[in-house]
Amino acid sequence: MSLAAEAFVSQLAAAEPWPENATLYQPLKEDQILLSDHASSLAVQAYLRMCGLPVQVLCRVNSEFMSPSGKIPFIHVGNQVVSELGPIVQFTKAKGHSLSDGLDDVQRAEMKAYMELVNNMLLTAELYIQWCDDATAAEISRPRYSSPYSWPLSKILAYQKQWEVRRKMNAIGWGGKTLQQVYEDVSQCCQALSQRLGMQPYFFNKQPTELDALVFGHLFTILTTRLTSSELAERVKSYSNLLSFCRRIEQTYFEDKSS
């Protein structure tokens, strides 16, 4: 869409209040969804709960293809369809709900930087482990990704997705990394986050922001997802303040559902 059209649409969006029937779409929870998608979806759910905006989670086999950008999750609010955390944050801001209003410019820049860190490090590491590690790809990722489809379409789609992710990894320079190097990167990222968090309840002291939602989404998913090896979870567990951070957010915002 052109800039003018986008501005017009967000004006329209701003005019309407948040409806009761907003829905969030993600792949099937039990059989299909993968680590990286679940992390992104949980981040958005946490953010919306922190804003106090009700949203119903619907699981659809084809949610990846329904999404306008091809990425999970996306929300359907009124007539609008918005995908990924960044645009969703903008969308809710246009409707008057924001978690980062109380921050000054320096803090906001810092928040953006840390969110970039999580996206570039944690999310990429999750994708690497899922699709570039042969053991995980063969045992977990490909079977789960292809579970809703019948043969031979299941094989075709699973391999197509794997090639696509591997090509992307090569393009950003992760193709040559080994699994140990990726685990090291994850540790470093967690260390940076742990240092920033310190003893505070949230990253920017008293109030949660979208950064908290994003970090929670990824770390909680890593801690609770079974992979071929538990090393990834162990690396995260070694930072106790991150563990208590996750537990705190889970208890505050997710206590009514057993996620």
């Binding site: 293809f65 329904m66 359907h76 369809v81 019948s150 379409l153 075709i156 789609l157």
Partner: protein
């Protein structure tokens, strides 16, 4: 051998067998004047000259009848029929018949030799077209290998490369020697389509195997098809109902079709009728889609006084899904447009969401036409004969069915809210292949959500209601 871009059209001489001339038989002048027509003759030899890669055993069936002729008129007629049979194989560019008296040691006094002089088609023919469509251009390359292994097998490859989409198809056709109407064909294809009336884009990659054979007066076709379908939204403004249909699915189906066609022509017939029944069962040979689909087409034509023709047609179809999954938009029926219910926009009738038409699971459509020659018959005997005026009445309905209500409720649903239209127009016949129409239409019974095209509407196609 190189690829020769031959100006020959993709369809070979088997299309539209028109009346043609037969070579005058050469008969030696007898010194005595004999009434040749009543003379009994025996066909002693039938040759085929000019064969290259064609295997002879294929052709013996086609020419066998000539041996049974026992007088000269019969020989001429059977030779003509054999020539038609040889041409319809699609492997010869030209077939000429030569009837001569027998020569040689065992020649009978009333013996005849019939020789078919054939020119085989080239091993590979090609065609190249450019097409310009809605904001896109494409280049279409066709390659055809007629008579690949010598028994009238045909291999065709078509490739279309466009600014928006690319599609291709490979097809192998093999008739049974001696029974050309019994044939089998294998196809592989990738086809993309854009459907702006539904804001839908569809890419199909499939393989199919098809067996065709005649049975009494009918032509039967059995087919297995496996298709990987990928659906997506066309543009960002697609409705959520269409967005919901995006994604991949696999259809593996068995289908059967029966056709009885007694019309004298498929475009603007003057007499005869057509009955076509088609059913498709998906899901029992694998795949995600599970349904039973039935559709039929009936057409009856009768010539009336003053060279006018009355034509009535009826179409209908039903899609029954198995299990709980809803039907896929790629399997549903669409209705409306210049080739079905005139006066309505292309496929813009029935269930819709935000202006995107979703198709329906059941439909019926009927048409009544009166074709007359152009008033005052301009250009009679020539160009004017290609045009006809027609008066038409079209009606139909398209809806979804909610199963569990029983057949009475379904029939009632189809009978409610009938859309219909009437009008008149001019029809132009393009050879034996297609037809153009320019009509003035008045749509009636329009339901909310339908998009109409009242007034002048233009249509081009092969199959019209």
């Amino acid at each position: 051998c190189g690829l020769s871009l031959d100006p020959l059209p993709m369809q070979g001489p088997e299309l539209g067998i028109q009346a043609d001339d037969i070579e005058a038989p050469e008969v030696e002048q007898e010194p005595k004047q004999e009434v040749l027509e009543n003379k009994n003759v025996v066909v002693q030899r039938v040759h085929i000259d000019g064969l290259g890669r064609t295997k002879e055993d294929l052709l013996t069936y086609e020419i066998a009848e000539v041996f049974r002729a026992n007088n000269l008129i019969d020989v001429m007629r059977k030779s003509h029929e054999a020539r038609q049979k040889l041409l319809r194989l699609g492997i010869f560019r030209k077939v000429e018949v030569n009837i001569d008296t027998s020569r040689g040691e065992d020649a009978l006094p009333n013996g005849l030799d019939v020789t078919f002089e054939v020119t085989e088609l080239r091993r590979m023919t090609g065609s190249y077209n450019t097409m310009v469509g809605n904001n896109e251009g494409s280049m279409v390359l066709g390659l055809r290998l007629p008579n690949v292994f010598g028994r009238a097998e045909k291999l065709t490859f078509q490739f279309s490369y466009g600014t928006k989409e690319t599609s291709y198809g490979l097809s192998f056709f093999k008739p049974q020697p001696g029974h050309f109407e019994r044939n089998v064909s294998f196809n592989m294809y990738k086809v993309t389509g854009q459907f702006p009336w539904s804001s839908l884009r569809e890419t199909d990659r499939g393989v199919s195997a098809e067996l065709s054979f005649p049975m009494w007066k009918t032509n039967q076709t059995l087919k297995w098809e496996g298709v990987w379908r990928e659906l997506g939204c066309l543009g960002q403004n697609a409705s959520f109902a269409i967005r919901n249909e995006s994604g991949h699915s696999l259809k593996s189906s068995l289908s059967h079709a029966m056709v009885v066609d007694t019309r004298n022509s498929s475009i603007l017939p003057r007499k005869g009728g057509l009955l076509k029944i088609h059913q498709e069962l998906a899901g029992y040979t694998g795949g995600d889609a599970r349904f039973l689909k039935e559709d039929f087409e009936i057409q009856l034509n009768k010539t009336l006084y003053w060279d006018s023709v009355l034509s009535a047609s009826l179409w209908g179809g039903l899609l029954l899904p198995f299990g709980d999954a809803p039907t896929c938009i790629a399997d549903r029926f669409y209705l409306g447009g210049p080739t079905s219910i005139r006066g309505f926009s292309m496929y813009s009738m029935g269930p819709q969401s935000d202006g995107d038409y979703l198709g329906g699971e059941a439909y019926w459509a009927g048409g009544l036409h009166l074709y007359t020659p152009l008033p005052f018959r301009p250009g009679r005997g020539g160009f004017g004969d290609l045009f006809r005026t027609h008066f038409f009445l079209n009606a139909g309905n398209l809806c979804n069915l909610h199963y569990g209500e029983g057949p009475q409720a379904h029939l009632k649903k189809l009978a409610e809210c009938i859309r219909w239209s009437y009008g008149l127009g001019i029809v132009l016949r393009l050879g034996n292949i297609a037809r153009l129409e320019l009509n003035y239409c008045i749509p009636m019974g329009v339901q909310s959500g339908d998009r109409i095209c009242d007034g002048i509407q233009f249509g081009a196609g092969i199959r019209f209601l």
